[in-house]
C-alpha cells in the first residue's frame, strides 16, 4: 500500500540497523531503489546516473544510528543532495536599476506561457507594487492575443498588442518603447510556443531578445515533462541563454523530475512555481519542497511548518505510542481530524502527508462530512470508541439516531476508520518518515 521511497529502502536495508553503518553493498542496493524512484519521477537518465554516484559517496559509511531508521536516513541524504542541487535558497528575478525591467517568456507549445505571463504580472503587482505591462507577441496561435488581453486585464496589467499581422520582433520592440514612455516598472513579453528544433522560430526568439535586451528570459516548463526536458533546455540555453525557469501545472501529481534535470544540465535556477489555473496560484520556487516531491515524499516541509503551530511534539509522541500499541481508537481519530482541520482545508493537506494522498483518496473528508463524522463518534460510548468492533445491530441504530444520520453512514465510518487504522499502524512501524523526529530535525 505504501510505496514511499523510505519504505522501499527500509525493506532493502533491513539488517543494517544492527550493524550501525552502511556498507558498499547496502549502498548499492539503496542506489538501485533511488535510481528507480528518480526515473519514475522523470529525472533525466544521465542526471540520475551522475546524481546517484554523488549520493553514493555521501552514503558510504554514513552513520545510521539514531531516531531515523536506515531507510529514512538514506532518504534524508538523498533529499539534502537534491535540495542542494536544485539551488539552495530560493532565487529572485533580477530587476533593472532603470525601469522598465523587461522579462521574456519562452517555451514549448502548451507549457503555460500566457497564463504564467499574467500570473507573474499579478505577482509583481502584489509583491512589489510594480506597474506592469504585458506584450502579445504570439501571432501564430489562434486567439492567443485575445487570451492575453483577457488574462492580462484580469491581472491588472496594461496589454500591448498589435493583432496578428505584425512581425513579433517588431511588436516586442514597439512594446519596449511604449513601456518606457509610459513609465512602466515591468514589461513581460509573451511569445508563441515553439519547438527547440524549429530553427526559424528559435532564430525569431533570438531576434526578440536582441531587439529588447531583456533582464530576464524565463523558460516555461510543464512539470509533467519527461526525459525530453533536457533536450529542450539545452537548446533554449544555447540559443537564448535563458536566466531562469518557471515550472507550471505543479497542482497535478507529476513528480516533476524535469526540474532537477533542467537545473542539473543548464545550471539555471527555477524561479517560480505555478500551482493552479487561477492567477494567484503562483509562488517562489522552493528547492527543498521540490526535492521532497520528486522523491515522492509529499510536501513534508509545508506540513511540518504548519504543524508546528498546531501540533505539540508531546502529542506526536503519544500518538506514535498509541499507534504502535494498537490503542488507536475513534477518539484519537477524531482528535487527529480536529488537529488537521485546524491546519486548513482538509483536501489539500491530506495530499501533503507523505504517501497518504493516494491511500486517503477513498477516505474523502470535506467539512460537511467532518461534521457528520464528529456527530457519529460523539454518539458513541467511550468503550465503543476504543473498540469499534463492538458496534453492531442495536448499537449501530442507537448511534445513527443519536447523530441524526443513518445505519449505513455509521457502518461506512467504521469501515473507513479500520482502513485508516491499518494504514497508520504501518506508519508507526517505521515505514514512513517519523513526524516527531522530522519536526525535531527541522528545528
Amino acid at each position: 500500500m505504501f510505496d514511499s521511497l523510505a519504505e522501499k529502502l527500509q525493506a532493502t536495508l533491513t539488517d543494517v540497523r544492527g550493524r550501525g553503518t552502511l556498507t558498499e553493498d547496502d549502498v548499492n542496493a539503496a542506489m538501485r531503489e533511488i535510481r528507480l524512484a528518480l526515473l519514475e519521477a522523470d529525472v533525466n537518465f544521465k542526471v540520475v546516473k551522475s546524481f546517484t554516484s554523488a549520493v553514493k559517496e555521501r552514503a558510504l559509511g554514513a552513520d545510521v544510528v539514531g531516531k531515523l531508521n536506515p531507510g529514512q536516513q538514506v532518504v534524508k541524504i538523498v533529499s539534502d543532495e537534491l535540495t542542494e542541487l536544485m539551488g539552495g535558497a530560493a532565487r529572485e528575478l533580477s530587476f533593472s536599476p532603470r525601469p522598465p525591467t523587461i522579462v521574456v517568456m519562452a517555451g514549448l507549445q502548451g507549457s503555460g506561457k500566457t497564463t504564467a505571463t499574467a500570473k507573474l504580472a499579478r505577482y509583481l503587482r502584489e509583491q512589489h507594487g510594480s506597474s506592469v505591462a504585458v506584450a502579445a507577441c504570439d501571432v501564430y496561435r489562434p486567439a492567443a492575443v485575445d487570451q492575453l488581453i483577457k488574462v492580462g486585464h484580469q491581472a491588472g496589467a496594461t496589454v500591448y498588442e498589435q493583432g496578428t499581422d505584425q512581425d513579433p520582433v517588431k511588436i516586442a520592440a514597439w512594446a519596449r518603447d511604449r513601456a518606457q514612455s509610459e513609465g512602466k516598472d515591468v514589461l513581460i513579453i509573451d511569445t508563441s510556443g515553439r519547438l527547440h528544433v524549429d530553427q526559424e522560430l528559435m532564430a525569431e526568439l533570438a531576434n526578440i531578445k536582441k531587439a529588447v535586451k531583456p533582464h530576464d528570459v524565463l523558460l516555461v516548463v510543464d512539470a509533467m515533462t519527461g526525459q525530453d526536458a533536457v533536450n529542450v533546455a539545452e537548446q533554449f540555453a544555447e540559443v537564448v541563454q535563458f536566466d531562469g525557469v518557471v515550472m507550471t501545472k505543479l497542482d497535478g501529481d507529476a513528480r516533476g523530475g524535469a526540474a532537477l534535470s533542467v537545473k542539473a544540465i543548464t545550471g539555471k535556477p527555477i524561479l517560480f512555481a505555478s500551482t493552479g489555473e487561477k492567477l494567484d496560484q503562483f509562488e517562489r520556487f522552493h528547492p527543498d519542497r521540490m526535492a521532497q516531491r520528486i522523491l515522492g515524499m509529499g510536501d513534508v516541509m509545508t506540513l511540518i511548518e504548519k504543524a508546528e503551530s498546531a501540533y505539540d511534539q508531546e502529542q506526536a509522541a503519544e500518538l506514535e505510542r498509541k499507534l504502535r500499541k494498537s490503542e488507536f481508537g475513534l477518539d484519537d481519530f477524531l482528535d487527529q481530524m480536529r488537529q488537521i482541520r485546524r491546519l486548513g482545508p482538509l483536501q489539500s493537506l491530506i495530499g501533503m502527508i507523505p504517501g497518504m494522498g493516494k491511500e486517503l483518496r477513498g477516505v474523502k473528508v470535506d467539512e460537511k462530512e467532518f461534521d457528520r463524522i464528529q456527530a457519529i463518534i460523539l454518539s458513541m460510548t467511550p468503550q465503543e470508541r476504543r473498540h469499534p468492533e463492538l458496534i453492531k445491530g442495536s448499537r449501530r441504530l442507537r448511534i445513527a439516531k443519536g447523530s441524526g444520520t443513518n445505519v449505513q453512514a455509521v457502518k461506512q465510518l467504521i469501515k473507513q476508520f479500520e482502513q485508516m487504522r491499518k494504514v497508520m499502524r504501518s506508519v508507526a512501524q517505521g515505514r514512513m518518515p517519523d513526524l516527531g523526529a522530522l519536526m525535531r530535525q527541522a528545528r
Binding site: L39, L108, Q109, D146, G252
Partner: protein, 332 residues
Amino acid sequence: MARDWRDLFIVDGAGPAPEPEDAPETQERRRGMFRRLRENLRKTRQALTSEIQATLFEDLSDETWERLEEALIYADVGARTTAQVVEQLEREATEGNISGGEALTARLTELLADIARSDDDRIDLRPQPTVILVAGVNGTGKTTTIGKLAWHLSKELGKSVVLGAGDTFRAAGVEQLEVWAQRAGASFVKGPPDTDPGAVAYDTIAAARRDGADVVIIDTAGRLHTQDDLMAELGKVRRVIAKQIPEAPHETLLTVDATTGQNGLRQAQLFSEAVDISGLVLTKLDGTAKGGIALAISHELGIPVKLIGIGEQLEDLRPFDANDFARALVTQ
C-alpha cells in the same frame, strides 16, 4: 506500409469508401504526393533501421543491454516496460533464437510494435452522426487536434463536421476553436459566455441532427486528472451526450503530449475512470520527444493509440502506425 486514413476510419460499405470525385489533375497530383510521401518514409525507415543496428547492436555485450535500456528510458517508455522488453530480448538472444544486429533490431521493433498496437485501433464513422468527445490535460493540444481532425474528415472522406465549443473556461478558448472551424471548413456551435459545457454539447448534437451533419466533435476545457470536481464535470458532459444519443459519444479521445513523462500513465488512468477513453492522440511528435509513454499507456491500460499530431498546421495529423512508432522509439 504506414496506415492511412482508410485503415483508421470505418465507413459504410464492404470495403474502404470510394475516393471522393475529383478532377483528373487533382487525382494525379494526389497520387504524386502520396508516392513522394511513401518514398520519403521508406528512406527514413531504411535510415532508421541501419541507425538502430549501428548504435545499439554493433556488438553484443553486457553494454548492449544497458544501451538498449538507456534508449528506451530516454524515450519515456518507463522503467517497468523497459525492463520487460530488454529482459525478453536478452533472453531470446541468449537462448540463441536470434543472432546478429539485423535480427535483433527486427525483433526489438517487433516487440515494441506489438506492445504499441491494439486490436481496437479504429474509429467507427458509421453512426449518424458520429459523436467524438475530446479531453485532456491543459496544453496537450485538444483544440488544435480537433481542427486537424475536422479537416481530414472533410478532405479525405468528404464528411460534414460540426464542432462544439465545450471549453467554456479558458480565456478565448471558444474563439480559438472558432478559428479552427473556419480553417477546417466545419460548422461551429458555441454557447453564451460561462455556459455549462454539457449544454454546449447538447446544442451541438442537436444542430448536427437538424442539419444532417456526419460528425460532431466536442471540445472540452483542459483539466488536470487530479482535479476531482473537473473530472466529475467531464463525466457529466459525457452523460448529457449519452442521454441524447444512447451509444454516444462513439469515440472519446484523450490527447497526450509526446513530451509527457510517467505522469501520462496517471492521466490516462484517471481520465479513463471519468469518461471511458476509447483512444489516444499522441500530440507534438514533431519535437525530439519519442512519446514512449504511449507505449506504457497502451500496454498497461489497454488504451489504443489512434492518432498522432506532428505539427501545428491542419495537415499535421496522421493515423497511428505501431511499426513506425516502434522504429522511431529507439533511434538517436
